[in-house]
Symmetry: C2
Subunit: 312 residues, 2 copies
Amino acid sequence: MKILVALGGNAILQHRGTGTAEEQFSNIETTCNQLVHLLLLGHHIAITHGNGPQVGDILLKNELAKNTLPSMPLDVCGAESQGMIGYMMQQSLDNQLKSVGLNRKVVTLLTQTLVDAHDPAFKNPSKPIGPFYSAMEASKLRQERGWTIVNDSGRGYRRVVPSPNPTAIIESETIKSLYDAGVVVVASGGGGIPVIRPKGQKVIRGVEAVIDKDLAAALLASSLSTEVLLILTDVQKVAINFGKPNEMPLEKLTLADCEKYLSEGQFPSGSMGPKVEAARRFVQSGGDKSIITSLDHAIDALEGRNGTVITA
Amino acid sequence: MKILVALGGNAILQHRGTGTAEEQFSNIETTCNQLVHLLLLGHHIAITHGNGPQVGDILLKNELAKNTLPSMPLDVCGAESQGMIGYMMQQSLDNQLKSVGLNRKVVTLLTQTLVDAHDPAFKNPSKPIGPFYSAMEASKLRQERGWTIVNDSGRGYRRVVPSPNPTAIIESETIKSLYDAGVVVVASGGGGIPVIRPKGQKVIRGVEAVIDKDLAAALLASSLSTEVLLILTDVQKVAINFGKPNEMPLEKLTLADCEKYLSEGQFPSGSMGPKVEAARRFVQSGGDKSIITSLDHAIDALEGRNGTVITA
């Protein structure tokens, strides 16, 4: 089957350790091991991934160096993280493919994602990124850089940025041409580098925002005409009444189910919400099915033995 | 004509300013303006670029943050710089192409470059990278990280890394397929991420080294079968007896001339030497011609009115 695999950030960098390159490579190897199984089964995959922990580290390094070197804006940091993660992913996957004798090209294509310059998210920055600050630092940064900084659940102050809705993958045609030619493409890392097209102009430019990687994945899967959007996360199945006595894992969801549960607020906005919404959008726009499950259960889920399957 | 354009690092980041993202975008716009002229004239180009100043800044940010976050090795920093520069380049060039009504795709492909694990350069690290250190810091870093650190012309102590000879561009087939389909590809940034293939193994892994971007460009141009390798630098022409009363700019060089002057040590190893060597290798391996000139004179040089042209 033709599948877009969307990997969570923690498939790459579990912040249990210190986040060294060795640790990240090691986590990516585990992840790639599962991806190789998919390819060995004859599936054709494209890959997208989160970048939260990595771009967080890049932002923090910028902060710690700010008296010596200019800090890069969020779009440039996102581009750096695509380079970093894409490199580790393509090398690791290529090595494992060679080890099992599968002859497939693996490449990373730098990806920009278009958002609407008038997206309401720009008036309501909500996504926390980067390091924690003291109240005094927060106040200074608000003045100096015009950042929106909020008190993050009492853990300290943190910058929040807009998380606008992705509307197009700028490089989608090239990604599709490679994918259709049998290349395993890593693309749209971190949801893609967010860009806007100012009104009345043909040009695009980067913006300080982050794009939900699963919503971008839904767009990418549609433009690649894959049959499946496979969203890999921490849990085997989506559940309603999560964390309550009547918690219920779900095996199947229709579009109507998704809409109902989303409107009921069953899924937290920072985690399962956008995954279910991405799954819904992909099927809504013509995809066969979306699957939400954990990395370990990807193959079981594809064969109908696990995971939550979303169909029309 | 089919052309691989090799841009010097200072075509992107002239360290006259502070190196902000705005400055880098602005320099890249100037560079892309010339590249658009090449495309308007009907040439088909691929682009490679240096990354010295950018990877230097990334390394320094790692250093300044080292008590808080793990430093990334040089291969990962190189990957980050490819993401950063590729993003700015593809966005800027795409915008300018749209503004003049040229409908061409522009993408960046993350690139790894193979070097020989037994390259003599690994026993003789010679390329200075990253920040300057005091004698005491240098001594500490030698012990803690096993780095080779040398006194850099009395300006302080600096880490030196191997600069091995590039032997293959790992992603060359995919780059060629895109290039042949008419896509403007940005590839092999900073000479590519250096990787070795340990003896008897199929896999590759990154190494702490830097690759001369012009030598990598010669390889890439050969694998793309371009007619021209266009190396853009600070000067209009290559000169012998550079800086002496009998300094003589050269309009034409044959392979024999290149070998003669290189063996005489006419060109400094850190700057014009590898450019002339890259120009020589490309022609030696079957390319029509190499041209060395400045960004401003690229078109004049292609039309035979400026620059140094290297042919068989």
